[in-house]
């Protein structure tokens, strides 16, 4: 496996690296699930969570992942920090560097902020979601969850439903699935499809009921009201009726198929409460798998020291 320098985008990875991350996560899962104690692997390393956009679950997930590996964690959020006093992104980055952090986990509303940060800093940068662009650890934890349920994903059919346009999750997800040889169908209102979707190399459908019988995974995207400043669909009720998954649609799925959602869910919009709570939904499992996957990313980015590796015993 080629070593990782940063984790900015799934586009930077090859299939072997994705499988390497998933295999590593598999071995770390007992620690993430607390069946085993935390390990001393990253003792003395300092991980900075730089969260310039609101996030609870991703920040906590990274926080726990770093702590299970015994790294020290600094949480830096835009609110109540120098950023709210008008400090530039570059100055914030240089300040963190001067404080001697070993890795920066960055979440930003601006697409490309992690890439920019990687140009300022030598330490590994981990993208925890940037604008509409990428959310690589979410995609990795999702394919990890799928692989645990379905085995090898080559030839498997994943149906991604909902707001693809605003979704960094969908972008990363499709790339990761294609690297592993899975087939992807996007089901979305025409208003919520990205402009150049034909270049994504996926099938596009407007008929959810028609694709469900052939699906191994139904992946429901969150309706992101905070990013919707235009009327993309008439009402939540109509969205729910046409694009949401309820029990009737759940029954159209093959018996082995699973239902996934990146969270936080809008119950009653993209997913009904009884589907969310059904045994087919692996949404809670995704959260635990997220810790294991993020541990794997931190381990692979931080456990080696390129300069030190040159020295032989």
């Amino acid at each position: 496996m080629k070593p990782l320098a940063n984790l900015l985008s799934i586009e930077d990875l090859d299939a072997e690296q994705v499988v390497g991350i998933l295999d590593t996560a598999e071995q770390l899962l007992p620690i993430a699930e607390r069946r085993r104690n935390s390990v001393p692997t990253l003792r003395g390393k300092v991980v900075c969570n730089l969260f310039l956009e609101d996030s609870t679950r991703t920040r906590i997930s990274f926080d726990i992942a770093a702590k299970r590996l015994s790294a020290e964690v600094i949480n830096f959020s835009a609110k109540g920090s120098s950023v709210s006093k008008g400090e530039s992104f570059k100055d914030t980055a240089l300040t963190l560097d001067a404080m001697g952090v070993d890795c920066v986990v960055v979440r930003s509303g601006s697409s490309g902020a992690p890439l920019q940060l990687s140009r300022y800093l030598e330490v590994p940068i981990l993208n925890a979601g940037d604008g509409w662009h990428q959310h690589p650890t979410q995609a990795l934890l999702d394919v990890f969850t799928m692989r645990r349920h379905l085995g090898d994903l080559a030839g498997r059919h994943v149906v991604v439903v909902g707001d693809v346009l605003h979704s960094r999750v969908a972008r990363s997800e499709v790339q990761a699935l294609k690297l592993l040889g899975a087939r992807v169908t996007l089901v979305s209102p025409p208003t919520l499809l990205p402009p150049a979707v034909e270049r994504w190399g996926v099938q596009v459908s407007q008929d959810l009921d028609a694709v469900l019988p052939d699906a191994d995974v139904v992946y429901l995207l969150r309706v992101q009201r905070e990013r919707m400043h235009r009327a993309f669909f008439p009402t939540s009720r109509e969205y729910s009726r046409v694009w949401g998954v309820d029990v009737a649609r759940l029954e159209k799925l093959p018996d082995h198929a699973i239902v996934m959602h990146p969270g936080p869910m809008n119950r009653g919009v993209e997913i009904t409460a009884d589907v969310a709570d059904s045994e087919r939904a692996v949404i809670v499992e995704q959260v635990t798998n997220g810790i294991a996957t993020r541990m794997a990313c931190l381990y692979l980015l931080l456990s080696g020291d390129a300069e030190g590796a040159e020295v032989t015993a």
């Binding site: 692997t41 456990s303 080696g304 020291d305 015993a313």
Partner: protein, 236 residues
């Protein structure tokens, strides 16, 4: 796997002497740091004449045959039973990678002798290594111990005992799993050169070596055959 290993044995020695820099690769299967010194080796094995005559090919000396490995394991099984006064409360824990099949075989041998089934597990110590920064990231193996270690005698099983650092990491890993009554150590080969105050309770074979030599234990389950070999460089 086996094919890759064999290929690496037949590789011509590197032309430059000393300690050529070699980056630890993520693809390196074995995690036993320091047990396998990479790079150039000098022919300084102090071997009795009958062993020296076992030369197979340039740079590779056979130290133990498959029969000798199997006899050593049988003796180790007897020794373990004698020291433990039976098979009660034993848990055999093999250290990844090649300690794992060795632990399984010892468990089977003990069952043959005593008629008692002894649990055998696997331990990956990578996350506890003290040299990970220098060598990492290394691929992780499975840790699976089928029973609770609390109050039991945990027998660590490793292929080669060398610096003792792997065993130090393994003890830390086992103590995280619970509170065993005691921890014992079985090594198929003890090659000396300890860097920590660690000693095996039972040793298959003591093989005095030079620190520049590379000792490889090959096991059927991983490498397709049982053998212990020393690999040397030609440029002493």
């Amino acid at each position: 796997m086996g094919a890759r290993l064999l290929a690496s044995i037949d590789e011509p020695p590197r032309p430059h002497a000393g300690h050529p820099a070699r980056r630890a690769s993520f693809n390196d299967r074995s995690c036993e740091a320091g047990k396998e010194h990479q790079g150039a080796f000098s022919v300084r094995l102090r071997l009795p004449p009958e062993r020296a005559s076992r030369h197979r090919s340039a740079g590779v000396t056979q130290l133990l045959t498959a029969d000798e490995v199997s006899r050593a394991l049988r003796r180790l099984a007897h020794e373990l039973l004698e020291a433990n006064r039976g098979a009660d409360d034993l848990v055999l824990v093999g250290i990844q990678t090649r300690g794992v099949p060795l632990a399984k075989r010892l468990a089977a041998l003990i069952e043959d002798i005593e008629g008692t089934e002894v649990p055998a597990g696997a331990l990956d110590v990578t996350l506890y290594r003290d040299d990970l920064t220098r060598r990492g990231p290394l691929p992780l193996g499975e840790t699976r111990v089928p029973v609770s270690v609390d109050g039991r005698t945990v027998v660590l099983v490793d292929d080669v005992l060398y610096t003792g650092r792997t065993i130090r990491a393994a003890m830390e890993a086992v103590l995280e799993l619970g509170r065993p009554a005691r921890i014992r150590l079985v090594a198929l080969v003890d090659r000396g050169h300890r860097e920590l105050p660690i000693r095996a309770d039972h040793v298959g074979k003591n093989l005095p070596t030079s620190a520049d030599d590379r000792i490889r234990v090959l096991v059927e389950e991983v490498d397709g055959r049982d053998e212990v070999v020393a690999e040397e460089g030609a440029d002493a």
